[in-house]
Symmetry: C2
Subunit: 208 residues, 2 copies
Amino acid sequence: MEISRYPSKLLEEAVEVFAGLPGIGKKTALRLVLFLLRQDKDVVEHFGQTILRLKNEIRYCKSCNNISDKEICDICANPHRDHSLVCVVENPQDVMAVENTGQYHGIYHVLGGVISPLDGIGPDDLVLHPLEEKIKRGEVKEVILALSTTMEGDTTNFYLYKKFRDYPVKITTLARGVSIGGELEYTDEVTLGRSIANRTPFKDVFKL
Amino acid sequence: MEISRYPSKLLEEAVEVFAGLPGIGKKTALRLVLFLLRQDKDVVEHFGQTILRLKNEIRYCKSCNNISDKEICDICANPHRDHSLVCVVENPQDVMAVENTGQYHGIYHVLGGVISPLDGIGPDDLVLHPLEEKIKRGEVKEVILALSTTMEGDTTNFYLYKKFRDYPVKITTLARGVSIGGELEYTDEVTLGRSIANRTPFKDVFKL
């Protein structure tokens, strides 16, 4: 169904704002708005207020640029983490994803995006300064580039590699290969080809 | 990925409110919140304000209970519509869907829900009063019950039928049968069975 006429201007406006969110079309937006209208007044009020507070009150860690309630986030403030190991990611979700592995004990640096000329995002739009300072001060032994394996991610990887390669810092990136638990026949050929070229000694993988 | 730890209390709160919307899980909610954080301040402000206005300012037509900016909605206020023909629907989306057919020139009555004992929705939770009054005043010649063909929709259909059958009003419901443009082999058997039982003279369908 195409939505041609809304019974109310305010309803239409509310649908427009929800439909401005990624992955939400007009029909879903209308469903969400009508859902909200059926809720109690304080629920809707809380929703609106939370969104208003979001942009005004949220802060970014001065050290790693991750979202935080404090000036320095819990990870950067933790003396038990290895501050000489920095994992560079695109956004806060990525930090949560790596944290959930339970395998990483260094700190992070959140770029806030990747270089994407089509979207008008250049190197100057990324937050790099605090990481650069740490590297210049010689505090970092290893930088792990953990960006998406997309064109934009790889462009950013190369940009960062060029920027930091003259400093005495080891630059690594995530291992690329077939997913664990993945069926070989469903693995794309680029990944599969690269996995064969970069094959690993069996006993290294299983720590024999 | 399971989200176990958010880097900020406010972020978590914002994710919770979005995840309270139907069809939106925590991961999508997080994506939406981080999207909002990347937008300009006035965009986010407009979003929050629109939601706050929604519950406070939206009004319901006194005549048909559809959402409206006015006391009486445009459809009910239109003298060219047939006010003796009332199409009873569950919600405002249904009004838009019927309006989009361009085939209907009566007025509507929006129940605001259907009877659903499992969800704790009984007949008293539906808005019926204005329709009942119109029928009692003899203003309505025909009521079209246009509810979903679900258990809840049919329960509500029967309830309304019983309530109004003693008034001098014709009670009809939407024709049920195979979809137009639908492949016969993909039609469910209940619909197909009923379409055969309620078969229509060929010349009636094509107006020969």
